[in-house]
């Protein structure tokens, strides 16, 4: 048993729903109790889908358990087939049905439905949502795709885009357009937008583009083995990765890698002097492994940040993440416990967090700027506007998104110059974070009392300078530390304490602070 407060991933049957909802002409029958339909609203609300997910739940009750839950499953499957007339059906169990051990696959087989029925094995007590999606897609491809003669023109399949995927809709559009520029046509994009009939035609493509390893790798590996279709290994998020992806496709197809980059603005934006202040900014990355690994490359090579921490919640992709972390010289964090992530962020004292919805909340609590790079996400990250992460437009989108929450360059200089600025002090909070600005406290008792009342009513948004126990901050040094702009104060404090500990200094003075600053000067 493991106590969990918030989860990064849902159960595996939600992954199966993501595949079913992504497709058309497919229906999923889930053996599940009343209440599991909650997952419908992820699709209708967060993704704002205008139709019900193509999923039927058997809705068994306690009173059914002694009796014929298998019969209940069969009647639900039959009426779903009669009503929706799908080209193919998926059948599986949610966590509770896994325990009562009816066998949806076996039961469906005895029904003689007039369409392919694919049985899913979703181990709810050991695996999670991404596994469920990957496994469901693999099961579908295995059941439906057949070896075929290659198309005359060079075509590929796009693999891994699903419902509830972070920017999957626009990534598919961007990569389809990029491939078209190279002369490659998309044969089938799946699961997103595909029908079961489309899946039967997947074998005729020359190769596969694996957009999202989390949800498409199983199928990509199967098709490589079964149909001899190579698949791309580089995920085209970031300018460097996109160019590498283009070279990879050129290598597979023999087409030219010389692709028109009109519309790509990110390299110039990043090179312009306005961006100089971004150099070496400390960034912490967390999310699914694919988005974190690609984001780390962008951060380090294309924007000039320093990666001070990276991790992922999906253990399936731990190995590539560990390799990437080693390249950036940081300790990899593989965890699905958000309290552990919070502790790692606090310890790394970053100036920017790139993460999921959970990290947005952690960032808000710590008063650190943040941008979202990965699922799980809330409704605002299924935007109405075109906002891919992949390809050249994706690079433009990413630059804007990541820079937006940061204090701007001139503002930062002025803050350092006028350290005790009365309007833009630490209690006022970081740029673009919610909350009313609080005026700086003057040292009169009445104002101090008022400020204390305000501070008590407002949640703390800024890391407080608190003694760490081992070394003591002398009052002068502590005052000096508070003059350092809040977005670098955490790291200044930590460096000074480490410096003091290394030198055996017990009391930190103003001199110690500046000696440490000189020591760690970058």
């Amino acid at each position: 048993m493991k106590l969990t407060l918030w989860t990064y991933e849902g159960p595996p049957h939600v992954g199966a729903m993501r595949v079913a909802t992504a497709m058309k002409g497919l229906h999923l029958v889930l053996h599940a109790p009343q209440g599991d339909t909650y997952a419908d609203l992820l699709f209708t609300m967060i993704e704002r889908r205008d139709h019900r997910p193509p999923v039927t739940f058997t809705t068994f009750r306690a009173s059914d358990l002694g009796g014929d839950t298998a019969g209940l499953f069969k009647s639900a499957a039959q009426s779903a087939y009669d009503r929706f007339q799908p080209q193919a059906m998926l059948v599986g169990s949610s966590c509770t049905a896994e325990l009562i051990q009816d066998d949806p696959g076996g039961l469906a087989k005895t029904m003689g439905l007039d369409c392919p029925v694919v049985a899913l094995d979703l181990p709810s007590y050991s695996r999670k949502e991404n596994f469920g999606a990957d496994e469901t897609f693999l099961a579908l491809v295995r059941a439906l795709a057949k070896p075929m003669a290659r198309t005359e023109a060079i075509t590929c399949n796009l693999l891994g885009a699903t419902a509830l995927g972070f920017r999957h809709r626009d990534d598919v559009a961007e990569i389809t357009a990029l491939l078209a520029k190279m002369g490659v046509t998309v044969n089938v994009c799946a699961p997103l937008g595909a029908t079961p009939d489309d899946l039967t035609r997947m074998g005729q493509a020359h190769f596969n583009v694996l957009l999202y390893p989390e949800t498409g790798e199983g199928a990509a590996r199967y098709m490589e083995r079964a149909f001899g279709q190579p698949f791309t290994k580089c995920v085209p998020i970031g300018v460097g990765a996109t160019r590498e992806f283009i070279r990879e496709v050129a290598g597979i197809t023999g087409l030219s890698a010389d692709v028109d980059e009109t519309g790509l603005r990110q390299p110039w934006w990043s090179a312009s002097v306005d961006s100089t202040y971004l150099t070496g900014k400390r960034v912490f990355l967390f999310g699914d492994a694919t988005h974190v690994i690609t984001a780390a490359r962008i951060a380090a090579e294309e924007i000039g940040f320093t990666v001070v921490g990276m991790g992922c919640y999906n253990r399936e992709q731990a190995r590539p993440l560990r390799a990437a972390a080693a390249k950036h010289g940081v300790e990899p964090l593989i965890s699905d416990d958000y309290l552990e992530v919070e502790a790692a962020i606090a310890a790394a004292a970053p100036e920017l967090i790139l993460g999921t919805q959970m990290e947005r909340h952690i960032a808000k609590r710590l008063g650190i700027p943040c941008a979202v790079i990965s699922a799980p996400v809330h409704v605002q990250d299924f935007p109405a506007r075109y906002s891919p992460q992949m390809g050249f437009e994706g690079a433009n989108v990413i630059f804007d998104t990541w820079i937006h929450p940061l204090v701007m360059g001139l503002e930062e200089h002025l803050l350092t110059m006028f350290r005790e600025d009365f309007e833009f002090h630490d209690a006022a909070g970081a740029s673009h974070h919610g909350g009313k600005a609080i005026a700086r406290v003057e040292d009169s008792p009445a104002v101090a009392a008022l400020a204390a009342a305000v501070a008590a009513s407002a949640p703390a948004t800024v890391p407080v300078v608190a003694p760490s126990g081992e070394v003591r901050w002398l009052p002068d040094a502590e005052r000096e530390l508070k003059k350092i702009p809040f977005f670098v104060r955490g790291v200044a404090k930590r460096n000074t304490e480490r410096f003091a500990a290394g030198k055996g200094i017990a009391d930190i003075s103003v001199d110690t602070l500046y000696e440490a600053k000189a020591h760690y000067a970058r």
Partner: protein, 426 residues
């Protein structure tokens, strides 16, 4: 509206369509979302699967706190192998939790579908932990599983589990039962106070130290229609229920207060003095929305058991025409005063076969549809106007001062539709 009983028999004898099929509803675990805000020293520990944790998180939306006061002890494969192990695991997780949160005074072990199916005995676990952690922490157990409870029934199961542990008393106190937003609770207490009714106790109380006592002289009244098991548990403690419609709208609130006034011998003058001003305010506030709602047809999918009282309010005070009133569960005894008031006409349905119900809905093409979030956008995209039902549980809607807000929840989607239609290109 007048307090006269309707001339027609209402829906008391109306037939009820009972259906069985796919239910598009939440399970009882969802009640934790509002119960943990109401009971400020309580922690709700679901013993279940990742699905349970994911449900709570999806339903709680952005309510991420530094340390939320609910969580899920997720069953893993090794827990399913042997049950003795599961008990030891649970003891360890609870011990760890209580050590980290010394402010917790009430711990609810909440059963789920998986824990019920493997027959993990949480009642005994709660007893065992009560001995271990007494007197600082009181441990309760109830089931919020989908195989046993629908949405708001989770609150019922929770409160019913607390009743046997309430202290005994012979005092003639009034218990107001049902978790209400603090602001509404205060208004309720002020009204009862103005009528001279007291002492009044709330179940649940905001903190464990304020829990009411109960005994043979206690009278109790429900503020929510879904509290059948809690009522039965209070009956078993000897308390007597005051039957009344539920305090939605001006009429519902007045009849609810009147039922108490009758029992406590409040004079008509005193009753009028206490209620005349807020009644007038409520009528005025509702009238502002009735203009939009009057004459419009209404279809309610089952969700919270609040459907019948809401249909009664919308029909009688806002002039709407209910076509079908669906409820997940119809408790005849509790609903009798409501059914008598609900004008004849609508089909009453209990349970659900969502596909068939959608067919009926489509054929009737109502002006306003009250439904869950899984259906709302799909119906909107087909041109229907919907009001998502969960908001009715998460928003203050009881008593006089909220009557206008309650009507507003239903008029807003219609007004919005009109605004956007007017703004759309022909």
């Amino acid at each position: 509206m007048s307090l006269d009983l309707p001339l027609s028999p209402g829906c008391s004898a109306a037939p009820v369509l009972r259906e069985r099929g796919q239910h598009e509803v939440f399970c009882g675990l969802t009640g934790i979302i509002w119960l943990h805000r109401k009971m400020q020293d309580a922690f709700f520990l679901v013993v279940g699967s990742r699905t349970c944790a994911h449900l709570l998180q999806s339903a709680a939306g952005v309510m991420i706190f530094a340390e939320p006061r609910f969580g899920t002890a997720i069953l893993e494969e090794k827990d399913l192998a042997g049950l003795a192990d599961a008990n030891a695991e649970l003891d360890r997780e609870v011990g760890r939790l209580l050590a980290r949160r010394p402010d917790i005074r009430q711990l609810f072990l909440v059963g789920s579908c998986p824990s019920e199916v493997i027959k993990l005995d949480l009642a005994r676990a709660a007893e065992r932990m009560n001995v271990q952690h007494a007197p600082h922490v009181r441990v309760y157990n109830y089931s919020g599983s989908g195989i046993e409870t629908t949405f708001t029934q989770g609150e019922d199961a929770c409160l019913a589990a607390m009743v046997p542990a309430l202290p005994a008393t012979d005092a003639a106190e009034l218990l107001v039962v049902g978790a209400l937003p603090d602001v509404v609770e205060d208004q309720c207490l002020a009204l009862l106070n103005a009528m001279g009714v007291g002492p009044v106790r709330m179940l649940p109380a905001r903190r464990s130290g304020d829990m009411p006592a109960v005994g043979p002289n206690s009278r109790y009244i429900l503020t929510q229609p879904f509290l059948g098991d809690t009522a039965a548990a209070l009956d078993r403690r000897g308390a007597k229920r005051i039957a009344a419609p539920f305090p939605f709208g001006e009429e519902g609130t007045t009849l609810w207060l009147q039922a108490i006034a009758d029992v406590y011998g409040v004079t008509a003058d005193r009753f009028d003095a206490a209620t005349a001003a807020p009644r007038a305010r409520a009528r005025k506030a509702v009238a502002a929305h009735a203009a939009t709602l009057s004459g419009k047809s209404l279809f309610l999918f089952p969700d919270s058991q609040m459907e019948i009282p809401l249909a009664r309010f919308l029909a009688r005070e806002c002039g709407m025409r209910p076509l079908e009133v669906g409820t997940p569960y119809l408790h005849r005894a509790l609903m009798e005063p409501e059914l008598a008031l609900l004008p004849e006409g609508p089909m009453l349905s209990e349970g659900q076969d969502v596909d068939k119900q959608l067919d009926r809905h489509g054929a009737q093409a109502p002006d306003l549809t009250v439904c869950g979030l899984g259906l709302a956008n799909p119906l909107e995209s087909q041109g229907f106007t919907t009001k998502w039902a969960i908001e009715l549980v998460f928003t203050p809607v009881h008593f006089y001062e909220q009557a206008g807000d309650l009507a507003g929840l239903f008029s807003r989607p219609l007004r919005r539709k009109a605004l956007l239609t007017a703004g759309a290109k022909p």
